[in-house]
């Protein structure tokens, strides 16, 4: 009887322990990898959203200003340059409105008010380029190119409605 009980209470062999620990190690390693990957994806996605949001906001702000502008103040603008600036004479409200890029940030200055940054702190604007097309007796046409974080860009064109 004691022999039967002894047989029932037989312990874990060394080999089994080694196998168990190996499996656990593999699972833990995989779990860590997945976790790191998920954190990485979250970061990339957040950054992408941040950049796209900044680009969208910047382009929308510039577009709205151009649509309501009276004319382009060419003497205060820097055209056809990657570090460009656009100054717009407005028919109402604060005038002029000036968009420029400084230290990786797109700045807007309305009238004599202090300049305000349009992009988030996590976004660096490397290119803000304005090109103007003029034709006699026709409203000016502006092409805008914005590049953020050296990789993401936005391109749009707007005609002055005045």
């Amino acid at each position: 009887m004691i022999k039967a009980i002894t047989n029932k209470l037989r312990g874990t062999t060394l080999l089994e322990i080694i196998i168990y620990f190996t499996m656990i190690a593999i699972v833990l390693f995989a779990a860590m990898s997945f976790t790191l990957q998920i954190f990485n994806v979250s970061t990339v996605s957040t950054n992408s959203h941040e950049v796209q949001s900044s680009l969208g906001f910047i382009t929308e702000k510039i577009e709205n200003a151009i649509l309501t502008a009276e004319s382009i103040n060419e003497s205060e603008s820097v055209l056809d340059s990657d570090q460009g600036a656009l100054s717009l004479n407005m028919s109402y409200g604060a005038s002029p409105i000036r968009f420029s890029v400084t230290g990786g940030n797109v700045m807007i200055q309305e009238g004599t008010s202090p300049a305000i940054k349009l992009n988030s702190s996590f976004t660096t604007i490397s290119v803000l380029r304005f090109s103007k097309i003029s034709y006699p007796k026709s409203p000016d046409f502006v092409i805008i190119d914005v590049t953020a974080n050296q990789s993401d860009s936005a391109h749009l064109s707007v005609t002055l409605r005045k």
Partner: protein, 602 residues
């Protein structure tokens, strides 16, 4: 813990981990898709903005179809579609026509709007190189830029210079609406011939090579004259009809004549052989027979009788009466139209009567009209009845019979005498007039503003009856030895060429840009219409400026309405503008220029 349990646990963990991992990968991919779509929308919007820019420069550059865009030398132009954008996207701009309904709202069909286009800007790309994706934006583009200088009223046209061109009023809108065309040089000519039938003529009907004459002769009240050679009319037969012939009509192989007696007062004459005519039937009326009318199987006989001024007979066989009607006055003339008989009577206060004859067995008066005097003749075209009266002045009354029960006078015309008979040929009404020195009157009835007297012609006697074919007018007269007179009809003609120079238009700006010239005109075969323009910096200098066409040179013309304007590059300036219209015709009919529009941006 057994091995099986461990394996099971690992498997569950793996499934969950893979699901979470896929979710994170999908998040990355979605972000990428959104980024691509956002940029595609910006390119699509750029397409619409480019089209707006093209519109601002030249609306006519927006040609229908699918296009790509090209930016070169500071301007956008259309190229073949699709356009490659950034080496990843393709862009197609579609331009379509726009139509409007009766309320002026945009509709799928209706009136074409030449100043509005529907624009679609579509951006396409492929996801992972195989899955096609696209976004599109649409809008309406209208040609609102620029000002218009429009010449369309008589006042505006009269400020220019006419050469073999005349202005004519046309129906509004706008008020004083006008058109210009080559001058009308129509004329009635000088042709004149006559035939002696031994007495006065009282009425005439022409059919083919013969003129059938009612003669004021007790011996031979009816005569047939060969008019195959109008210069030499000759009598082929004369017929005894108991008394003088009064009124006459013809239908098929028979002539129907009113006779100046009561029995018989009406006769049916077989004229199948003009050389041998005979009376087939003749019978009594309640008074002297006047002008009859025949249609189908029925004869409508009129008489100098207040009792039965109008009688209807079935003439399909032996004539028999179907109905009689008293209108309370002598019936002197009759004209059938649309189920009604329009009677001219000697009732001074109600000279025109309208009778419903849709049922020949039950005719009845439905309307009447006071035209101021007795009515001797009626001619109908469309909804207009020309009523000839015994009024010395304004003997021609124009009556609207759109409602036969309620005819109304629209206008009247003085043609220098009482009207005895009338006939309409083409755009002219010819009237036999009781005027010794002007027995024939010619009236132009082509204008929507009312008839105008063209000419009074001396036919050496008073006119008593009249008929016409395409080339000649045949008038029975009260001249004994010229019972039938033949003159030429009006031969319509216009000048073969002419030009119109507009006034000098001041745009008010020294650097005006001219966008396009457009005109509205009525085309006629065998004619041409073309334009040239000139500009100058001063009004005084424009007279020496060069007329130029679509390429800015004197050797071309604007020949298609709505063409982009190219000014003379050597012109002194663009502030002042003139256009010149050149019209050519085949000498018969002329095109009409209804309006000219110059679109410019000062």
């Amino acid at each position: 813990m057994s091995l099986v349990e461990i394996i099971l646990a690992i498997a569950i963990f793996s499934v969950v981990s893979i699901a979470v991992f896929n979710l994170s990968i999908d998040t990355i991919q979605r972000d990428s898709k959104i980024e691509l779509s956002n940029q595609a929308l910006r390119y699509a919007q750029e397409g619409l903005e480019a089209v707006r820019n093209m519109r601002d420069r030249d609306f006519l550059a927006l040609t229908n179809g699918d296009h790509g865009l090209n930016l070169a030398n500071g301007s956008w132009t259309f190229i073949a579609a699709p356009e490659d954008v950034d080496g990843f996207y393709s862009r197609t701009i579609t331009v379509e026509d726009v139509y409007r309904d009766g309320n002026g709202d945009i509709a799928s069909s209706g009136t074409f709007d030449p100043d509005t286009k529907f624009i679609t800007s579509e951006i396409g790309w492929t996801l992972r190189g195989i899955i096609p994706r696209s976004v599109s934006l649409s809008t309406y583009i209208s040609n609102w830029t620029g000002d218009d200088w429009i010449t369309t009223t008589c006042t505006e046209f009269d400020q220019g210079i006419y050469e073999n061109i005349e202005s004519i009023g046309v129906p509004a809108p706008p008020t004083d609406n006008c058109a210009v065309s080559l001058v009308d040089i129509s004329g009635s000519g000088t042709f004149f011939a006559s035939s002696n039938v031994g007495s006065h003529g009282t009425d005439v009907v022409v059919d083919g090579n013969y003129a059938y004459l009612a003669v004021d002769s007790s011996a031979n009240g009816f005569a047939i004259i060969d008019i195959s050679n109008p210069a030499l009319p000759s009598i082929v037969s004369q017929l005894y009809t108991w008394h003088k012939g009064r009124g006459l009509t013809k239908n098929g192989n028979f002539a129907y004549m009113g006779i100046e007696r009561t029995n018989p007062a009406i006769a049916i004459i077989d004229v199948s052989n003009p050389n041998a005519t005979s009376v087939t039937h003749a019978w009594q009326l309640d008074g002297y027979g006047n002008e009859p009318a025949a249609s189908g199987n029925y004869l409508y006989a009129t008489a100098n009788s207040s009792k039965n001024g109008l009688s209807v007979y079935d003439i399909s066989g032996v004539p028999f009466a179907t109905d009689f009607l008293s209108v309370g006055a002598d019936v002197q003339s009759i004209e059938l139209n649309g189920g009604y008989a329009y009677l001219g009577t000697d009732d001074d206060s109600s000279g025109l009567k309208v009778v419903n004859i849709s049922d020949p067995g039950n005719i009845s008066t439905v309307g009447s009209l006071d035209v101021g005097e007795e009515v001797n003749a009626i001619e109908i075209t469309g909804i207009t009845a020309y009523v000839g009266t015994e009024e010395s002045n304004n003997s021609l009354q124009v009556v609207n019979i759109s409602n036969p029960a309620n005819p109304t006078i629209t206008t009247s015309l003085d043609i220098s005498g009482e009207i005895q008979d009338m006939v309409i040929q083409g755009n002219y009404l010819y009237a036999a007039v009781d005027n010794q020195n002007a027995g024939l009157a010619i009236v132009d009835i082509s204008s929507p503003f009312g008839p105008t007297l063209v000419n009074n012609i001396d036919i050496q006697g008073k006119g008593t009856g009249i008929d016409a074919d395409a080339n000649y007018v045949y008038i029975s007269t009260d001249t004994s030895n010229q019972g039938l007179v033949i003159v030429g009809t009006v031969q319509e003609a216009v000048a073969t060429s002419g030009s119109y120079i507009s006034k000098i238009f001041d745009t008010g700006s020294p650097d005006t840009r001219y966008n396009f010239i457009e005109w509205d005109h009525t085309e006629v075969p065998g004619s041409t219409l073309k334009f040239q323009i000139r500009t100058s910096s001063t009004a005084e200098g424009i007279g020496s400026a060069t007329w130029v066409g679509f390429d800015g040179t004197n050797s071309t013309y604007y020949e298609n309405a709505r063409t982009a304007i190219t000014t003379d590059p050597l012109a002194s300036g663009n502030r002042y503008f003139q256009f010149q219209a050149f019209i050519e015709s085949d000498g018969v009919s002329t095109p009409q220029v209804n309006s000219v529009r110059i679109n410019y941006t000062p």
